[in-house]
């Protein structure tokens, strides 16, 4: 049993932190690419900015400024600083529900990224600065995993994180391999950057060796059962956590659970040959829209349900 408002806040903490981590990584890969060949750098920056939803070639050319804005620009609703501020604001509202260890990780991160010298700290070592943010986010996850009860609150936190992850990875792949664009990404360095953005390079190399191929990337990031950032992995966990939180809802299968089960099955029974023959776009679009439906259904079922249905007779 937990307050509906609290469940909602925990869910959004999960979403915002996942977003902050993903965009930190995009910024990091952009910065890294500037060290290599220049046209690969621009292509990498373009991929990253498109994945954020801002495909601006002029901005992509000024990679460093674009990366810095992605991390620190408070005018940009997608920036890491905004995501972290919103996550922390939600955490403050449910401060009684999360452990002190977890809260302090997040609060520290927030205080650092909103401090007056954040910009200066970024400039004096941008890559190190971003790595620290990602490491702190991992510490938050570790502290949450180690100190919070893995009950209902935890499941809402995880639901937010995995739904956000599935959508972010789908978006990233859509940018690189969707149809109707000015050509799919084929450059080897850009492909490696893509894997880095998905935090997937090392696990990919172990699985497929250093042969970087589009087919394998799609197979790994969409269908892999064990890689925690594959879409299939995320949808499996979304379903698992929904089964967990729906146990107490009266009457039959709750809508979010049904939707998640269907999406999971869809990914279970598709394979990379199908993607290659009909193009990745259709499946990726389904993932994005189904995740949005699950998101709405979670809100309707657990948070903003109509009171008339629940009043005692």
């Amino acid at each position: 049993m937990m307050l509906a408002r609290v469940a909602d806040s925990l869910y959004w903490i999960g979403r915002y932190l996942e977003r902050a981590e993903h965009f930190s990584r995009l910024a990091d890969v952009m910065l890294n690419a500037t060290l290599d060949r220049s046209d690969a750098a621009a292509q990498t920056a373009y991929i990253a900015l498109s994945a954020v939803g801002d495909p601006d070639m002029a901005r992509a050319a000024r990679t460093y400024e674009a990366a810095k804005a992605l991390v620190l620009d408070r005018e940009d609703p997608n920036s890491v600083v905004i995501s972290l501020s919103l996550a922390r604001e939600n955490a403050r509202q449910v401060r009684d529900q999360i452990t002190t260890e977890t809260w302090e990780r997040l609060n520290l991160l927030y205080l650092r990224i909103t401090s007056d010298n954040a910009s200066q700290a970024f400039e004096s070592g941008s890559s190190a600065y971003i790595h620290e943010i990602i490491a702190d986010l991992h510490q938050f996850k570790g502290a949450a995993d180690a100190t919070m009860s893995h009950g209902e609150g935890w499941r809402f936190l995880m639901l937010g994180a995995y739904l956000e992850r599935a959508q972010l990875i789908a978006r990233l792949l859509e940018v690189c391999f969707g149809d109707g664009r000015d050509g799919n990404v084929t450059d080897r360095i850009a492909l490696m950057s893509l894997l880095r953005m998905g935090c997937a390079l090392e696990p990919y190399l172990r699985r497929y060796t250093a042969e970087i191929e589009t087919r394998h990337i799609l197979e790994f990031l969409v269908f892999d059962e064990e890689f925690p950032r594959s879409i299939r992995f995320a949808t499996t966990l979304i379903e698992e956590h929904l089964v967990g939180v729906s146990r107490h809802v009266e009457g039959g299968l709750a809508t979010p659970e049904r939707l998640a089960g269907r999406l999971k099955a869809r990914l279970q029974y598709a394979d990379v040959d199908e993607l290659e023959s009909v193009g990745a776009s259709a499946l990726l679009a389904t993932v994005t829209s189904e995740c949005a439906r699950i998101h709405d259904a979670i809100f309707d079922t657990f948070v903003a349900y109509s009171l008339e249905m629940k009043l005692p007779a």
Binding site: M2, W103, N107, L307
Partner: protein
């Protein structure tokens, strides 16, 4: 313990004293506690006796302060402040462009009260709250005390904090003020007196607990050796008090903490108490009233609520009964309360008993209900509603503290000796215009306690806010919030007026050492 022994014991037992801190303890680094810096005024000093001798119960802390360098103290102060910031023990300052979070200034030097003195305080607080609860039960019931002419009828019934809606309403155990925080001060002779009672939604208890937590880390050895009585039971005693207010027929009552929300300056405290009690922290929008029952919206539907520890003022708890424009409360809550289906703690309408004018009658109130003299005296108080007392006040504005009856938090207040002629004249006009709205008291030189100010130990004026719980029984937690007026010479300790706080050590009787958990 002799001073040298105390120093020795500290070095042996204090895990903080590492090789590095011993190096920085070099005499040449400059000692923070010197006679030149520590100049007690006319006020009673908590650490030094009138002849400059260290009071017995301060020996160990005094010894510690004379061995730590200014740098070592400053380091600890910084660590303490950092830890408060990290925990989020902050209030938010909203600026034009940015919002910043500040911690309430916290001083690391503990204030110490010996056990015999505390026993006296505790007995006085229990007596006082018993009488005030009986007074509330009476004025919302038969009104005997008004009929007997002990307290003027219009003073009580005309007070804005008197809630007619509470008349003839059943309150379990007749416990109206379940949580009370009274402000005590020491006068020039060192005697404790009550300055003010807080029976509405007193705050500050989280600072008592957080300061203790910090003190244990700042002076672990001294703390261990001092045999300080624990404050850590406050949350579970609070929960027991709240549960004792639920009707008997509700097994395992659901307790919640009602907060105005994250923008309230005491939000940290609300969340802190909810977390330590294991009770949900709810906002008005989480609660629903249906057929005079209160429910909270959970993920799996509505769940009945039995006891509400509300940290929302009377005016805002129910827009149907009190202020209509309140968005913080719950529509229909008061009717559910009246129907006996939910209990609010504190009860609405308790404010009338901490009204600054009613305050003047508390010694008579104690006498009336309990047949006893007040153990803790009041401060002499002039009621400006009485013409004779008003003219005395107007003639002595330069010596008196004048307070608006309805205001709190150090607002609407004139400290005569510290005010300019112009300020006094302006205040005199306000007084003449609405005399019933003011009371006056002599300016009391609050006692001073050692504080770390800019790297040196200096005396600053302090008060004492202990917390008393009353439900089935009355319990006083052996601890308090000591509030500090950080500006030199200032007598105003309110945090809204530049005050800070520090940990308060109530020493255990050596014979009756509390068992270790």
């Amino acid at each position: 313990m002799k001073r040298e022994e105390a120093v020795q014991a500290e070095k042996e037992t204090d895990p903080d004293v590492t090789a590095t801190s011993l190096v920085t303890d070099d005499i040449s680094a400059g000692l923070p506690l010197t006679e030149a810096a520590y100049l007690p005024g006319q006020a009673f000093d908590e650490m030094y006796g009138p002849g400059g001798e260290v009071r017995d119960h301060y020996n160990a802390v005094h010894a510690r302060l004379t061995t730590l360098s200014a740098e070592a103290l400053a380091d600890r102060q910084k660590t303490l402040e950092r830890s408060f910031l990290l925990q989020g023990i902050t209030f938010t300052v909203y600026g034009a462009e940015t919002t910043t979070e500040r911690i309430i200034p916290t001083d690391l030097v503990p204030r110490i009260i010996p056990s015999t003195e505390w026993d006296h305080i505790e007995a006085g607080l229990i007596q006082r709250l018993r009488a005030l609860n009986m007074f509330l039960d009476d004025i919302y019931g038969e009104q005997q005390i008004l009929m007997d002419g002990i307290v003027p009828r219009d003073l009580v019934l005309g007070a804005p904090s008197y809630r007619r809606e509470m008349q003839h309403l059943y309150v379990p155990h007749k416990a109206y003020a379940n949580v009370c925080g009274s402000d005590l001060i020491r006068d020039q002779d060192g005697a404790f007196a009550v300055l003010e009672d807080n029976l509405r939604v007193p705050s500050g208890v989280s600072y008592m607990l957080a300061n203790r937590d910090a003190a244990k880390r700042t002076f672990p050895g001294t703390f261990r050796a001092a045999n300080v009585r624990p404050v850590e039971r406050y949350p579970d005693l609070l929960l027991a008090t709240l549960k004792s207010m639920a009707p008997d027929w509700r097994p395992d009552p659901q307790v919640v903490v009602l907060t105005p929300g994250v923008y309230n300056s005491a939000y940290y405290e609300h969340a802190y108490l909810a977390r330590l009690m294991g009770a949900p922290l709810v906002e008005g929008r989480d609660l629903v009233v249906h057929e005079n029952m209160v429910y909270m919206r959970t993920t799996t539907g509505l769940r009945r609520v039995d006891v509400i520890y509300r940290r929302v003022d009377d005016d805002f708890i129910d827009p149907l009964t009190f202020r209509r424009d309140s968005g913080l409360g719950v529509a229909g809550l008061f009717n559910a309360y009246r129907a006996g289906n939910v209990v609010m703690c504190n009860a609405p309408g308790t404010g009338v008993a901490d009204d600054k004018a009613v305050y003047a009658y508390v010694p008579e109130i104690i006498k009336y209900y309990l047949g006893e003299d007040a153990i803790l005296p009041n401060i002499e108080t002039f009621l400006c509603r009485e013409p004779a007392q008003l003219s005395h006040v107007l003639g002595n504005l330069d010596k008196l503290v004048v307070k608006a009856v309805g205001a709190s938090g150090g607002y609407g207040m004139l400290v005569g000796p510290h005010a300019s002629r112009k300020e006094r004249e302006a205040f005199a006009e306000a007084l003449k215009a609405d005399p019933a709205n003011y009371i006056a008291q002599p300016t009391i030189q609050l006692s001073t306690a050692p504080c770390l100010i800019d790297g040196r130990i200096e005396p600053r004026h302090v008060d004492l806010r202990p917390f008393i719980l009353s439900g089935e029984k009355i319990v006083v937690t052996p601890g308090a919030l000591t509030r500090v007026a950080l500006r030199r010479g200032s007598l105003v300790v309110n945090s809204s007026q530049g005050g800070g706080s520090k940990d308060t050590w109530i020493l255990a009787d050596d014979a009756a050492r509390e068992p270790q958990p």
